[in-house]
């Protein structure tokens, strides 16, 4: 029974997904069509990948709002390499390495430099975006050879490869955060940076790793972007951070750090995707969709506060056992 209680927030997400699916299908009969669903799901692959990249960073109690810009660089880089004929594997490797390095810059400034992550990534958000525009030029990059578009139309059976990629990444992060020292260190740092340091955790190194990983995931998302849109421009994914951050927070990852699971991130992305797809099918305008996401973000962070404030006001004791948060 305690097992179930620990996963309370994930169960809640599942319930919400079902509700959202029901609502969406009520709004539009096309929603439940399997082909449509798979298609729609592909749209959110990129956000899912970035959300997983953001996940360890938030667990450590920091933030990275520059991921969308890193994605842009990744996509432009990949497209350029593809057009230049660099072998697929090498291109992928170079892009992942490059975007990881962009993440390392953030990580070094935050970890070793001690600068606040919000301010640093605010700066790199702009700097990397500018870099992306520069690399892409006015027109962006087009005419990418077929074989590089592996995450686009390729399917394994009925399922698009990109969706499988997301599942694989989800599994990887579940293992990473749940069963490796990096994961344990991350939760420790997020719970109490000073205690972690006292326990001889290599705090700075672990921070840099998280940012590098985040950058790499954004790069991976960039590669998928190129596959899906067959082009790359400097303004790719501009503004995506709202969706990504909401997915992470909705997934049960506390903004203060120290708790949250990969499964939650996956479910939250599915939930947001379901809601947004439903809205699209109901012809809700784009900015209204964004409005809903913004409201969900504030709600996801604000509601627990309201609840604990009310709790304090009315004197109910806070639980002393973990409920849903914490490592698997």
């Amino acid at each position: 029974m305690t097992r179930l209680r620990r996963y309370a927030s994930e169960l809640l997400l599942v319930v919400l997904i079902v509700l959202a699916a029901i609502a969406s299908s009520a709004m539009s009969p096309y929603f439940l069509d399997p082909a449509n669903l798979l298609n729609a799901a592909q749209f959110f692959v990129i956000f899912a990948l970035m959300a997983f990249g953001l996940f360890p960073i938030v667990v450590q109690g920091e933030i990275d709002i520059s991921l969308a810009s890193t994605l842009a660089i990744g996509s432009v880089l990949f497209a350029t390499l593809a057009v230049s004929g660099v072998p697929l594997v090498a291109a992928v490797a170079l892009v992942l390495l490059g975007t990881a390095l962009l993440g390392v810059v953030n990580g070094v400034l935050v970890g070793y430099g001690g600068l606040p992550s919000l301010a640093v990534t605010l700066g790199t958000l702009g700097a990397y975006r500018g870099l992306a525009y520069l690399l892409a030029g006015d027109a962006g990059v087009v005419g990418i050879p077929e074989e590089y578009l592996l995450f686009g139309a390729t399917k394994v059976g009925p399922v698009p490869v990109s969706l499988l990629l997301v599942l694989a990444v989800a599994a990887m992060f579940t293992v990473l955060m749940g069963a490796t020292s990096f994961g344990r260190y991350s939760y420790a740092i997020g719970s109490s940076p000073s205690a972690a340091r006292m326990a001889a955790v290599p705090v700075n190194r672990v921070r840099v790793l998280a940012y590098a990983l985040g950058g790499a995931m954004a790069g991976l998302a960039g590669i998928v972007w190129v596959s899906q849109y067959q082009s790359a421009r400097g303004d790719n994914a501009d503004g995506a951070i709202l969706f990504v951050l909401t997915a992470v927070v909705l997934g049960g990852i506390s903004i203060k750090g120290g708790s949250g699971r990969a499964l939650g991130v996956l479910l939250a992305t599915i939930l947001l995707g379901t809601i947004q797809t439903g809205m699209k099918l109901a012809n809700v305008p784009g900015t209204s969709q964004t409005l809903v996401v913004g409201a969900l973000l504030i709600g996801a962070v604000g509601l627990p506060r309201v609840v604990s404030m009310l709790r304090q006001r009315f004197g109910a004791p806070l639980p002393s056992r973990a409920q849903g948060g914490g490592q698997a």
């Binding site: 490796t180 326990a199 001889a200």
Partner: protein, 511 residues
């Protein structure tokens, strides 16, 4: 209103403390404390670390709510809910860490929230003038338009005092005011305090510096272990009596004689120095030995231990573990060498309260327990279980540390290091805030670790009976310097405290 027959003077007490009690978790910080502060006097409050001075000050200034007891100012009962109310009621305190706004000017700091105004606007000229007047009144020559960020610590303190001084100030409490001042600066402060007294303010002076207390105080109150011991005119208490009153206890902790011989020096420190914090610290801890480090809060003991643990790369000097020099570059490097550190602040640094016992205990050992980079839950649980048994930790290994009592948390903090099979243990106030029963358990564990397991233990403690009962040798640190290195046999509480409060001859108030 009845005049207490035993009170010394017919004048109404400036502040009467009656039956004040306060406890935090398992520890009784104050127990039925009652005494009086007379009007227009300099009243010294002395006692060891943990005697309850800070708690009492917190209650008087409205920071803390007492469990029981009352306060009366000039005969009227008062209850302050926050420092602002206390200020309005004429009670102000100046603490060791400045409560100032570094980006703002001196004048603005003095008048925070009470800016002189013309109409809706702050009258900066008037503010500056009034500040200058206040400062010169007290004998401080400070430019009121200077930013606080550019001041020295002493000047910052003067600003805080100037801020507190107001018509209507009944009581000014100064907590360790000269701990960071040069003798010159201290002189200035003495002059100010005397002036305030002449103006009728009661000044409460909290300090460990005996010669200062002797020089300034009219009345001295001694607190010990949360209880009031004595309030008497300064002329009736000499230094020795004061120290005896501060330490004298009926509780004697058992000393278990050591049979096992000591081995070679396991930890050796040579000429350790960290600018502005400690200077030329040299000592040795042998295999199987427990060495205590005594001294006042702020003397630099924790800093020395933390520096040895690798948290202060700027430290100079040599550290040797089992005869081999090591460079304390980082905690990880030192743990590698078998040197571990248990922080003083248990809840913020010693454990991660929101994680389970197992996770906490396994944290420094994860790398070792990993197989191919993956954690082994089974091995972690085995480790946690064995440590729990060894240390008698009350709780299931899947419980969160936040649900444990202070004593058990400390055991978890200790267990995480014992799991790494260390050679040198640096313990910082290991039994602070723990109930007596668990304290004894921890002492037994320490003795076992040292004597049977041949570890070298360095224990920082402000609990003198504990130091005497558990340690083989005692080092005393005062103001960043080593002032004593004596065996337990030679040590007495009085001698330790004297070494902790002594300042090298030649410095002291120029009477």
């Amino acid at each position: 209103m009845d005049i207490d027959a035993t009170s010394k003077s017919p004048v109404v007490a400036r502040l009467r403390v009656s039956g004040i009690s306060k406890h935090f978790e398992a520890v009784r910080a104050l127990d039925d404390v009652s005494f009086e502060f007379a009007p227009g006097e300099i009243h010294a409050l002395v006692g060891e670390n943990g005697a309850g001075k800070s708690t009492l000050v917190g209650i008087i200034t409205g920071l803390t709510v007492p469990d029981a007891g009352t306060l009366e100012i000039n005969g009227t009962p008062v209850r302050f809910r926050n420092p602002m109310e206390a200020r309005a009621g004429g009670v102000a305190a100046v603490y060791q860490d400045p409560n100032l706004f570094p980006h703002l000017s001196v004048a603005e700091n003095i008048f925070t929230g009470q800016y002189p105004q013309t109409g809706p606007f702050v009258d900066r000229n008037e503010m500056s003038r009034a500040a200058r007047a206040k400062l010169s009144d007290l004998g401080f020559a400070l430019d009121p338009d200077q930013l606080v960020a550019g001041l020295t610590v002493a000047e910052a303190q003067f600003v805080e005092i100037a801020r507190a001084v107001d018509t209507g100030l009944q009581i000014l409490i100064l907590d360790e005011p000269t701990s960071a001042l040069t003798p010159d600066e201290s002189e200035k402060l003495y002059a100010v305090v005397k002036k305030l007294k002449a103006q009728g303010t009661t000044v409460v002076w909290i300090s460990h510096r005996m010669e200062e207390v002797r020089f300034l105080a009219d009345t001295i109150t001694v607190l010990r272990d949360g209880s009031h011991v004595r309030t008497a005119p300064a002329s009736e208490l000499d230094d020795d009596t004061m120290i005896t009153l501060m330490v004298g206890r009926s509780v004697v902790l058992e000393q278990v004689a050591r049979i096992e011989p000591l081995g070679a020096a396991r930890l050796a420190a040579q000429h350790l120095s960290l600018a502005g914090v400690f200077d030329d610290i040299s000592f040795e801890v042998a295999e199987g030995e427990i060495v205590g480090i005594a001294g006042l809060v702020g003397a630099g003991r924790s800093e020395i231990a933390q520096a040895i643990f690798g948290l202060s790369p700027k430290m100079t000097g040599t550290v040797l573990v089992d005869g081999v020099p090591v460079a304390p570059r980082s905690p990880a490097a030192m743990v590698e060498r078998g040197v571990v550190y248990l922080p003083e602040n248990r809840d913020l640094e010693g454990v991660i309260a929101s994680m389970t016992i197992t996770s906490n205990i396994a944290l420094p050992s994860i790398r070792r327990l990993n197989r191919f980079g993956f954690m082994q839950a089974r091995r972690e649980r085995e480790l946690a279980t064995s440590q729990r048994t060894a240390l008698s930790i009350k709780g299931r290994i899947d419980d969160l540390v936040s649900s444990l009592s202070g004593g058990n948390r400390q055991k978890v903090a200790l267990a995480r290091w014992l799991a790494t099979n260390p050679r040198v243990l640096l313990l910082d106030e290991p039994t602070h805030g723990i109930d007596v029963g668990t304290k004894a358990q921890v002492h037994d564990i320490m003795r076992d670790l040292a004597r049977a397991k041949r570890m070298a233990i360095l224990m920082i403690s402000s609990d003198l009976p504990e130091v005497l009962a558990v340690c083989d040798r005692v080092l005393v640190i005062a103001r960043g310097r080593l002032t004593a290195d004596i065996t337990a046999a030679e040590a007495t509480q009085e001698r330790i405290l004297a070494a902790a409060t002594t300042i090298t001859a030649g410095r002291g108030p120029a009477a």
